[in-house]
Every structure is written in structure tokens, then in C-alpha cells.
């Protein structure tokens, strides 16, 4: 093949493709606007073109005259920009919005750099767009002139232009013509150097951002910002700084991302994915929470970073050496800090360090699992007893106990049967001790402590401990991997958790807890390999940690569920392989972050208080509803689609019933359901914020459509794909998630994007139930209620809204088209 002689022969033999026909605007016009083979045809087509052009020009003239009529008051849009965007968000706290935007932009740009997405745009396409835009602007300017000179037959359209209009128009005209000419010839020149010149796609948004920033610095709009605050700073002055900062950030992060990608290829992708997942709660937290950047938060973050680092060391070092144990113990204890309330005195932290140290040294330096367990058990017993004698906040004791439990099981469980058996014993002993200590400690706190202690359901606690121990014992039996064992164990484990409850929870909570435990354990135990176990449990755990903080229940109880879930997570997963240990670190980090965020989000006792819908409005609300609704309905729809196509009749029935029911009821009904009726369906005492209920309603509705789309994709996949995956040894879950779903989702991306766009536009329906989304503000707040100057500006507000929705949806569909094309390349 590489032989030059044969290559030359081959080159001689292949015929050159014919030259493509010449192109150019004149040629294009002749081919498309004035085409024809006979004079008759040409005349007819030319007539059509000219007639159509005339109609177009008149429409344009009408629009221009409408847009530029002096009574149009476009100031209603510009002056209410803040109202439209964030409604009544406190002026002093706008920094939160900017910070969130900054996080978002950094993530977008860094991801683009890391995945090398964006690619390049044909310069011809870009210049073509620029040229058409400039021509449109120039024609508009001329139209405007014409409109000014003559009156249209439309009553009320008077053209009392300001005196400087003609000069402004002249400038615009000249600039537009210049741009058009430059764009036209610029492409020609660069074509001479390179036959198909391209520019980075990214440069387009960068140029737009630069233009916006430049405009903001030069524009002067000395008008009050809106009805809710009386500051008279011009809008440009307040946003110029932030926008410029964002612009600089974007421009700076991109090369940085490229550099990082070059030095450590692919290393940060996983980090970016988790950052994206985390950005959602974090941004909501930033926007919605009551202020004060608490130094505890910083310490918590530091604790997470240090803890993760220490865990890494622990994982990397061969297990055994004392030095490693000391390092790891200190790190682990620091890692425990996120769980503290931040109000403990220093000596408590020091004591914690010592206890953790003792436990870990015991656990890590002794080599045999059995001995390790024994030693750790001894340390645990001591810790559990000691803690309840030390005066400290009740919550903190519980946390220390739970965390000691965590410390105990982490390094010990796994390899041998005997180790597992001992775990069971230790667990039972620890639970009994904890419960006793719990009740003992509670009596110190409680006034009528003694009565409570006597009345406490000792019998049920003992029963729970017995049941839990029994279930764990079953769990410890070989061989691991039985789904039924997992179910038994899960029920038992959850029963075993009951001693931790305050005894005041409603029944449904207990049932819910049982179900959650069941799901996690089934996931953890039925999948055989340690890595998957960690992943599955981590995913389950993350969901639990997040969801728990939205459910109103005693604070203590939430904390316990989180701690217990942590316990569940590490018990079956740690041990065996190096990879399992590495993944444990990752899972731990994510969980710690989620726990802390959830902690702060849901904790009634902290200084952070949920602000609910009060300040949530405008585009801020629209985007929150759209992103939440879409992000939640995708996985729910996925599950529904899988259920509807599964071979199990009960799943099929449930999914089909759900989908058909949801689709046969209008979305507005679901919104009313969410806002007014959902509470009635929930157990007494459980209430969600209205936003949460609305997001639930939107998710209910959209997931049905998403499910049907994905089902279409699933049906398009050949059965052979599934068989090949199964025959290769992949499990049902793996075959579905690694082979079937990626293909199914790919084929339905256009339909999914359609659903996403519909979902975005449908958020405007929430106005009906009284939420102030951007459309409601534009439709009603501004024209009817605010500044008398802006009364009756409904038409222009609607015009602006149309433009606004169009820009957003058009961007989404353009991006998805690009994405589809890049996928198509991969598949061929």
C-alpha cells in the first residue's frame, strides 16, 4: 500500500471528482430567485420573487414603524430588566445571583475545554450570518426613514422622532453597510489563504459577551431600577462590573482548562461531572438561603478536603503500618467535622481525635480481621460509654457514636467469614450500648427524664435489636449475593435502626425508612463486585441524603438516617479490592458534601432559613422550574420507560397506568394538583414548600412524555444487542445501562429535546397558580401595577417575551443539533 510506485498507479487510475459549480451571491440569486430554462419560466419566477420581496418589505416596514413609534416605551423592558430577571430579590443580595452565574459559567467553559467540545465554525457560515444581519439592520434603518417620511394607514402611528434620530440612523446605516462589506470581503481574503477557513465556535459567545460588556460600560440609563427599590443607579452601572467579571472569568478559564487537560488528560472529567451534579443544590443554596457566610462553612469545606485527602492516604498505603494509621486517623477525625454542629468546645474535638486515633490504630495495626474487630469493638464500647458521661450537646453525642460506628466498620469488614460474623456481634453489642446510653443521656437532658425512661418501650427496643442482629447474621452467612438475603437483611437492619428513632415518628416514616434501606441493600448485595456495590450504594445514599432534608421530621432523626445510611454504605462495600477502596473515598467525598449541603438546607436550627417563594420570581423562577423539572423528569421517565417495557406484568401495569393517566389530564390540572391538592394526599403533618410541590407536578407531567419518547428508542434497539450483552457475561442491570439505554437515548435525542423545549415553555403556566414567573411579570406586573409610566405597555412586553423565549429555545435546539451531528459522526 505504501509502496510509492503502486500509489502513483492508483492515483493515475482514480479519476478526479468534477469541479463543484461556481458559487456566490449572484450565482445563488440566479439559481434560486430568478431561475428557469425558458424566458417564460424566468419571467414567472422573477415575478414571484419580486412580489414576495414586496410583501416582505412591507411586513418589515410595518414592524419597524411599530417598533420605533415614540409611544412604544421600550424603557419598560430595559428599566424593568431586574424585575423581569429576579423579581424582588433583595438588592443587597444580588451578589448571590452573580455568584451562581459565575459558577455556572466556569463549569460550562471548563467542561468545554475539558471535553474539547464546541469545535469550529465555518467562517463562511459565520460571515454569512453577520452579513445577513447587517443587511437586515441596514434595510430596517432605511425602512425607518421611509416610515418617518410617510404615514402608514394605521391609526395612532405618529412619527415624532427626536431630532437626533436621523444622525443615529445614519450612523447605524453606515456601520451596518461596513460590517456587511467587511464580512463579505473578509471571507474572500481568508479563502485565498485557506480554502475552508474556520473560527472556534466559542469565539461567537465570547464576542457577544464582549459586546454586551462594552455596551454596558458605554450606555447610560439614569432611571430608577423598578418599583421595589428606589435606588437610582443606572442599570448599566450596576451590571457592567459583574458582567465584565463574568466575561473575564470565561476568557480566563478556557485556556486554563485546556492547559489542565493537556497536563492531566481526562483527569478532571469525573470531577467536573460531580461538580455539575453538585452545582444544582449548591446554586439553590446560594440563591435561596439566608445570608451570612459562616466560618463554620469554610471549616466544613476544609474538613471535607482534608478528610478526603486523608482517606486517600489510608487507601493508598498498604494496610498495617502504624504511621499510616495515625495519619489516617487524624484525617478521618477531621473528616468527621462536617458532621458537627460547629458549637463544640475545642476539647471535644481533641477528645474525638484521640478516640478515633485509638480505634483506628487498633483497627489498622493488627493484621487479622478477627483481632481487628475485637480491638475495635473494645475501643467502640469505651467510646460509646464515655461519650454519654461527657456533658455535650445531645446531638453531638449521637453523631460521635454514629461516627465511631462508621470508623469501626470501615477498615474491618470484608474478607473473611469470621470477620463478618464478628461484625454482627459487635453491631448488636454496640446497638444495645448505644440505646442504653441514649436513654441514660436523655434523662440528663429531659426534665421528666426518669418517667420517660421508665415508659420507654424497652421491649420493642430489645425486639428490634434481636431482629436486627438476626438479620445481620443472615447477611453474614456465605455466599453473598442473594437478593432474598438482602431483602431479609434490609428489613432487619431497618428494624434494627428503630432504637435510634425518637418514637414519635408516624408509621409511614418507618415504612419509608424500611423501603429506603431495602433499596440500598438490595442494590449493594445483589451486585457482586465491590466496585459496583460502592457505586450503587453511593447513588442510593446520595438520593437519601438529599431527599431526607426536604421531609419535615425531627432534626435528630434526619441526622440519624444520614449516619445510618453512611453505615449501610460502607459495611458491605469496603474491603476486597484497591479499586473498591478508591471508590469509597470518592463516595465518601460526595456524600460528605451532600450531607453538609443537605444539613444546612434542611436544618431548622441553623441560622439559615428557607425563604420559599417570597423572593423567587422572574427568570430566576422560570429557570429553576425548568431545570428542576427537566432534570427530575429525565430519570423518572427513564425508569417509567424501562418499567413499561419490562417483562414483569406488575411493573408494566403500573407504568402504563401512570403514563396514560398523566397524559390524559392537562398540565394545568397537575399544577393545581401540586399547589392545592398534593398536601391532602400526603400524611398529616407533612408539608412541602410550594416550589417543591410545583416542581413535583411538573415532573409528574413531563416524565410521562419523556417515558414515551425513551420507550420509542428502546423499541428501536435490536434484541440481539441485549442478547450479546448478556452472553458476554454482563448482568441485566449492566446490559441495560451500558448497552441498551445509551443507544435508545441516542435515537430519541430529537424527541427529548422537543420535550425539553416544551417543558421550558410550559413553565409559564405556573402564572395561573400565582407564581410570578417572567411571563406573569411581563404580562401583568409591569403594564398594570408598577410605575404609571409603564402602564399600557403590554404589547411591547409581549413582543419582548416572544423574542426572549425564541432566543432561549432556538439556542437549545441549535445546540442539540450540533450534539446530534457529533454523535452521528461517532456512530458511522
Amino acid at each position: 500500500m505504501t509502496d510509492p510506485a503502486s500509489a502513483a498507479v492508483a492515483a493515475d487510475m482514480t479519476e478526479r471528482a468534477p469541479e463543484p459549480p461556481p458559487t456566490g451571491p449572484w450565482r445563488w440569486m440566479r439559481d434560486n430567485l430568478f431561475s428557469g430554462h425558458t424566458w417564460g419560466q424566468i419571467a414567472f419566477n422573477s415575478f414571484l420573487t419580486l412580489a414576495f420581496a414586496l410583501v416582505l418589505l412591507n411586513i418589515l416596514r410595518f414592524i419597524t414603524s411599530y417598533l420605533f413609534a415614540p409611544e412604544r416605551k421600550w424603557a419598560a423592558v430595559t428599566h424593568n430588566a431586574k424585575l423581569l430577571m429576579v423579581q424582588a430579590f433583595p438588592q443587597d443580595d444580588l451578589i448571590r445571583i452573580w455568584t451562581s452565574l459565575g459558577i455556572f459559567i466556569v463549569l460550562v467553559v471548563w467542561s468545554m475545554a475539558s471535553w474539547k467540545v464546541g469545535g469550529r465554525l465555518e467562517l463562511t457560515t459565520f460571515a454569512g450570518g453577520l452579513r445577513s444581519g447587517a443587511v437586515l439592520v441596514a434595510v430596517t434603518a432605511i425602512m425607518h426613514h421611509a416610515a418617518e417620511a410617510r404615514t402608514f394607514g394605521i391609526p395612532g402611528l405618529q412619527f415624532d422622532s427626536p431630532a437626533n434620530w436621523s444622525s443615529v440612523r445614519a450612523w447605524i446605516l453606515v456601520a451596518a453597510v461596513l460590517v456587511a462589506v467587511l464580512a463579505h470581503f473578509g471571507v474572500r481574503w481568508s479563502r485565498a489563504a485557506d480554502p475552508s477557513p474556520t473560527i472556534p465556535l466559542l469565539s461567537v459567545p465570547v464576542m457577544v459577551m464582549a459586546a454586551v460588556a462594552a455596551l454596558l460600560w458605554t450606555m447610560e440609563l439614569p432611571v430608577p431600577l423598578g418599583q421595589f427599590d428606589q435606588t437610582t443607579a443606572p442599570i448599566a452601572a450596576t451590571t457592567a462590573g459583574p458582567w465584565t467579571t463574568l466575561f473575564v472569568l470565561a476568557v480566563a478559564v478556557y485556556p486554563l482548562g485546556i492547559l489542565i487537560e493537556r497536563i492531566w488528560p481526562r483527569a478532571f472529567r469525573r470531577f467536573l461531572i460531580s461538580a455539575w451534579v453538585l452545582s444544582y443544590p449548591v446554586i439553590i443554596f446560594i440563591i435561596q438561603r439566608n445570608p451570612v457566610l459562616d466560618w463554620t462553612d469554610m471549616i466544613l469545606l476544609l474538613g471535607i478536603v482534608l478528610g478526603a485527602g486523608a482517606l486517600r492516604v489510608l487507601v493508598a498505603l498498604p494496610r498495617g503500618p502504624t504511621g499510616a494509621a495515625v495519619v489516617a486517623a487524624i484525617g478521618l477525625v477531621i473528616a468527621a467535622l462536617p458532621l458537627t454542629s460547629g458549637e463544640e468546645p475545642l476539647w471535644v474535638a481533641a477528645g474525638l481525635v484521640l478516640i478515633g486515633l485509638a480505634t483506628l490504630i487498633a483497627a489498622l495495626t493488627i493484621k487479622e480481621p478477627v483481632v481487628t474487630v475485637r480491638a475495635a469493638a473494645a475501643g467502640l464500647v469505651l467510646a460509646c460509654l464515655l461519650i454519654w458521661l461527657v456533658p455535650m450537646p445531645f446531638l453531638f453525642r449521637v453523631l460521635v457514636t454514629a461516627f465511631t460506628l462508621f470508623l469501626l466498620v470501615t477498615p474491618t469488614v470484608g474478607r473473611t467469614q469470621r470477620g463478618r460474623t464478628y461484625l454482627v456481634r459487635v453491631w448488636v453489642a454496640a446497638t444495645v450500648l448505644t440505646v442504653v446510653a441514649f436513654r441514660l443521656g436523655a434523662t440528663f437532658v429531659d426534665e421528666s427524664g426518669l418517667t420517660a425512661f421508665v415508659r420507654s418501650d424497652v421491649v420493642s427496643i430489645l425486639l428490634a435489636v434481636t431482629l436486627g442482629g438476626g438479620a445481620l447474621w443472615v447477611l453474614g452467612l456465605p455466599p453473598r449475593g442473594h437478593a432474598s438475603t438482602a431483602v431479609v437483611a434490609a428489613i432487619g437492619l431497618v428494624t434494627a435502626a428503630l432504637p435510634f428513632a425518637s418514637g414519635e415518628e408516624p408509621l409511614w416514616l418507618t415504612v419509608g425508612l424500611v423501603l429506603v434501606g431495602l433499596a440500598i441493600l438490595a442494590a449493594a448485595f445483589t451486585i457482586k463486585e465491590p466496585v459496583e456495590k460502592v457505586r450503587a450504594s453511593a447513588a442510593g445514599l446520595a438520593v437519601v441524603c438529599l431527599s431526607i432534608w426536604f421531609i419535615p421530621m425531627p432534626f435528630l432523626y434526619r441526622t440519624l438516617i444520614v449516619a445510618f445510611t453512611l453505615f449501610l454504605l460502607v459495611t458491605p462495600t469496603f474491603g476486597g479490592t484497591q479499586r473498591g477502596r478508591t471508590n469509597l473515598v470518592r463516595a465518601w467525598t460526595v456524600v460528605a458534601v451532600l450531607t453538609v449541603v443537605g444539613f444546612r438546607l434542611g436544618a431548622a436550627s441553623t441560622s439559615l432559613e428557607f425563604q420559599g417563594t417570597t423572593f423567587l420570581g422572574g427568570f430566576n423562577l422560570t429557570i429553576l422550574l425548568a431545570v428542576s423539572g427537566i432534570a427530575l423528569s429525565l430519570p423518572v421517565g427513564l425508569i417509567l420507560a424501562l418499567a413499561r417495557t419490562s417483562s414483569m406484568p406488575i411493573f408494566r401495569l403500573l407504568a402504563t397506568g401512570y403514563i396514560e393517566l398523566v397524559r390524559s389530564v392537562p398540565m394545568i390540572t397537575w399544577l393545581f394538583f401540586g399547589s392545592a391538592m398534593l398536601t391532602a394526599f400526603l400524611p398529616a403533618g407533612v408539608e412541602f414548600d410550594e416550589i417543591v410541590r410545583i416542581v413535583a407536578a411538573i415532573t409528574i407531567f413531563n416524565s410521562a412524555y419523556v417515558a414515551e419518547n425513551i420507550r420509542g428508542g428502546l423499541q428501536a434497539i435490536d434484541r440481539g444487542q441485549y442478547e450479546a450483552a448478556r452472553a458476554a457475561g454482563l448482568s441485566i442491570v449492566q446490559s441495560t445501562s451500558l448497552v441498551i439505554l445509551p443507544q435508545a437515548v441516542r435515537t430519541v435525542i430529537p424527541a427529548l429535546v422537543g420535550s425539553i423545549i416544551v417543558a421550558f415553555k410550559d413553565t409559564s403556566l405556573v402564572a395561573i397558580i400565582g407564581l410570578a414567573d417572567i411571563l406573569l411579570i411581563a404580562r401583568s406586573f409591569i403594564p398594570q401595577q408598577s410605575d404609571p409610566n409603564f402602564q399600557g405597555t403590554l404589547p411591547q412586553m409581549m413582543f419582548f417575551m416572544a423574542l426572549f423565549y425564541w432566543i432561549v429555545t432556538f439556542t437549545i435546539s441549535k445546540l442539540s443539533m450540533r450534539y446530534e451531528r457529533s454523535l452521528g459522526l461517532g456512530e458511522r
Binding site: T577, Q721, A724, R726, A728, G729, S731, V739, E827
Partner: protein
């Protein structure tokens, strides 16, 4: 390689129905370690159903199948264990179109055998060299010819280090000039001592490589024997008829 049991596969009176239609009506045979068995027979005679029962893509309803010392039952752990020991190559290749050749081959080792990415990629490269297409590693299946795709499918099955390989008409969907390249790979595999069951219409392959030939009709083994016996001295009328039609 550790093998369990004296025989790789034992089938005793295996029966299988699709609704009222009986696809397998009592198949009994056993296949030894290292043996290459070619299965032939008219279309619809149950050949595919038979080898799909061996890794339980289809469940048999009566009789016994023992693979590598493990009986095939509804026990999922057994099935998963057996599927890891038994590789399968399909008529339609069934490569995963959204993954590159390399990813196709490493997917199962990474997820089902819990190997690291780097070690399974190194192993995959060796396999691709063995089937003669190392340069295609980073292409997508859609960019390969049929013969190359089927060789990737063989490499994918081999990546799990199976003890037994099943082939269901691996060359039937190929253009004639590509059949040889796939058969060559299979020959090499047979010479290396792999236990193989091959459903095929390539009589040349059967003559040259098979240790034993099974002739299927109406869901039964009508005749079995060495290739010499089978092609030169068939006993059964249906076998004779079938051979006269295809040879």
C-alpha cells in the same frame, strides 16, 4: 485453565417448546473438552435454539444441561457464572454500535470481571492482533466490513477468557470473499484447543476442522459422527437428502 467435569457440556433429553411448537424434541449429546463440534441441518431444525440453550439465552423446559460441571437451572448465579465461561458469536455480529472496537471488547472484562481498564485494553490489543485487525481498534463497528466486524465479535467473546465458544452461523451474513478470513480465525482457535460448537453451512470447514458433526432435523440429533463418516457414509435418509441438496 481449570475445567470441571470430564465433559465440557452434557445434554440429556433436552426439550423446548415455543408455545405449542416443539423446537427441541429430546437432544442428548455430550461434548468433551477441546472438542470441535459442527452442527448442521436444515433451516428451522432447532440448531440455534440448541446452542442458545447452552448459555441459556433460551430456557429449556425438560431434560438436563450441564456446562463445565454446573447444571443450568433458574439460579441466576449459575447462569452468570456459565455465561462468563461460554463465549458466543452471532450470525448478525451484534456488536455495540455506540462503542469503539476497543470498548466493545473491554466492556465485559471491565464490568463483569472487574478488570482494570489498562489491563483489559492490553489484552484486547493482543486479541485484535490474533484476529488480524489491530489497526481498527479505535474505529466504530459501522466503519468496518462484515468480516472485520465478525472478527471483532470473536475477539469480544474471547476477551472473557471463555472455556467454551459457541458460533451460530458466523459466516452466513458475510459476502463470499470475507468468509475465509473469519473461518481462518476459527480454525486457528480450534487448533489452539478451544472447545467449540459451530452451527454452519460451510461444509469445507466441517470436513477440515470438526472432530464430530451433529445433524439436526425436527429438533433432534438425527445423525452424528466424524466428518468422514458423515460426508462419505451417511446412514439416515434425511441426512442423505440434506447433503444431496447442499453439496
Amino acid at each position: 485453565m481449570t475445567t470441571n467435569g470430564s465433559q465440557a457440556i452434557i445434554c440429556e433429553d433436552v426439550k423446548k417448546w415455543f408455545g405449542d411448537f416443539q423446537a427441541l424434541s429430546g437432544v442428548s449429546t455430550s461434548i468433551g473438552w477441546g472438542e470441535v463440534v459442527v452442527v448442521i441441518g436444515p433451516s428451522g431444525s432447532g440448531k440455534s435454539t440448541f446452542i442458545r440453550c447452552i448459555n441459556r439465552l433460551e430456557a429449556h423446559q425438560a431434560g438436563r444441561i450441564v456446562v463445565d460441571g454446573m447444571e443450568l437451572t433458574n439460579d441466576l448465579r449459575n447462569i452468570d457464572a456459565i455465561r462468563r465461561e461460554v463465549g458466543m458469536v452471532f450470525q448478525q455480529f451484534n456488536l455495540f454500535p455506540h462503542l469503539t472496537v476497543m470498548q466493545n471488547i473491554t466492556l465485559a472484562p471491565i464490568w463483569a470481571r472487574n478488570r482494570t481498564r489498562s489491563s483489559s485494553e492490553a489484552a484486547a490489543m493482543k486479541l485484535l492482533e490474533r484476529v488480524g485487525i489491530p489497526e481498527q481498534a479505535h474505529k466504530y463497528p459501522g466503519q468496518l466490513s462484515g468480516g472485520q466486524q465478525q472478527r471483532v465479535a470473536i475477539a469480544r467473546a474471547l476477551a472473557m477468557n471463555p472455556k467454551i465458544m459457541l458460533f451460530d452461523e458466523p459466516t452466513s451474513a458475510l459476502d463470499p470473499e470475507m468468509i475465509k478470513e473469519v473461518l481462518d480465525v476459527m480454525k486457528e482457535l480450534a487448533e489452539s484447543g478451544m472447545t467449540m460448537i459451530v452451527v454452519t453451512h460451510e461444509m469445507g470447514f466441517a470436513r477440515e476442522v470438526a472432530d464430530r458433526v451433529l445433524f439436526f432435523d425436527y429438533g433432534m440429533v438425527v445423525e452424528e459422527g466424524t466428518p468422514e463418516h458423515f460426508f462419505h457414509n451417511p446412514q439416515h435418509d434425511r441426512t442423505k437428502l440434506f447433503l444431496s441438496q447442499i453439496l
